[in-house]
Symmetry: C2
Subunit: 197 residues, 2 copies
């Protein structure tokens, strides 16, 4: 005897999510059985709606509901500075410090020759196209990891010849850590002490 | 700026699940955005289908797709023994040892006066009704915790006067642990050394 089919099917689906093992999947599934039907429907709809309605902003490659994301369509932001991040969630981390007023660009990954991830797998071409407009500075805000460092140096070598200043967030952040987990104060000082590459 | 609405809505929904904090919710949500659309639809459907199609077995109160669950509709099982568990998932734990061939009864909780959970909140009445038929033994397989012990003693006092033998899984299991996490060997010896209450 195993669980009733719809239950074991749900457990199997949940187990495929990152960070959710067999035990957590089981506990989550049983929790779902106890949730009000409307709450379960709302969760299910959120899943499909998020997946189906969101796309990448045609300018900065951030996750967006429309053709251009909220940051790119904000006329009050400074067009002359672009902050380059690895993932869309890193934009939220930067925005939390309420200090940066420029634009963003999401690479969707970091260079990792070991894993066969080269510039062609990242949104690098799209970044270079944006530099044709009047951009004075590119702030590379990749994680202070091997891949983040590699990506920052690669971008610096590519962009500096175009006459654009390339800076990087200061290593005020714990080395080896992740941008997404940095606290506001650390990120703030890292932004303040950014240095030219 | 926050995340695009469908994304922050999904994060909010995920955060409400047990064991999923803000960070995990965010990571899961971004994972969903990268999943194939069909996989997301399948996950969403599993959620609603499990919640909508499953109900409690009218006999043993286990989670079931039909009126009676798989165990209760199996004619080869022994009607004279009922194993009482706290949660439906505990049935799966018992079944994994491939030794027990009787029936089950799910209480859906444990007595906990501190939390205001009394017998009327559990499926105790339904258990007593089943004892009108020819039941020789009730094996109480509640967790070896304060609540599990309290519930076992309460049931023993209630059932023994009816002339039904009441036993409990032996404390071969680590005290304070949870049935659901016990390994097969431990559970097997606990079943073997069950003692009359």
């Amino acid at each position: 005897m195993q669980f009733a089919r719809p239950l074991s099917e749900l457990i199997a689906q949940l187990e495929r999510l990152p960070g959710i093992g067999p035990k957590s999947a089981q506990r989550l599934a049983f929790h779902v059985l106890r949730m009000p039907v409307d709450d379960v429907r709302r969760l299910a709809e959120s899943l499909t709606r998020a997946r189906e309605s969101l796309r990448l902003c045609s300018t900065c490659q951030n996750v967006s509901e429309g053709e251009t994301c909220e940051v790119c369509s904000d006329p009050r932001r400074d067009d002359s500075v672009i902050c380059v991040v690895s993932e869309p969630r890193d934009i939220a981390a930067m925005e939390r410090i309420h200090e940066y007023k420029g634009r963003y660009h999401v690479l969707h990954g970091l260079l990792s020759p070991m894993d066969g991830i080269g510039p062609e797998h990242l949104k690098v071409r799209e970044l270079l196209e944006r530099l044709r407009n009047d951009v004075a500075e590119v702030i590379v805000a990749t994680n202070p990891t091997v891949e983040g460092d590699t990506t920052a140096l690669y971008l610096a070598r590519l962009i500096k010849p175009l006459g654009v200043k390339v800076t990087r967030l200061a290593h005020g952040m714990p080395v080896g850590g992740e941008l997404d987990y940095a606290d506001t104060a650390t990120l703030l000082s890292a932004l303040e002490y950014r240095r030219e590459l």
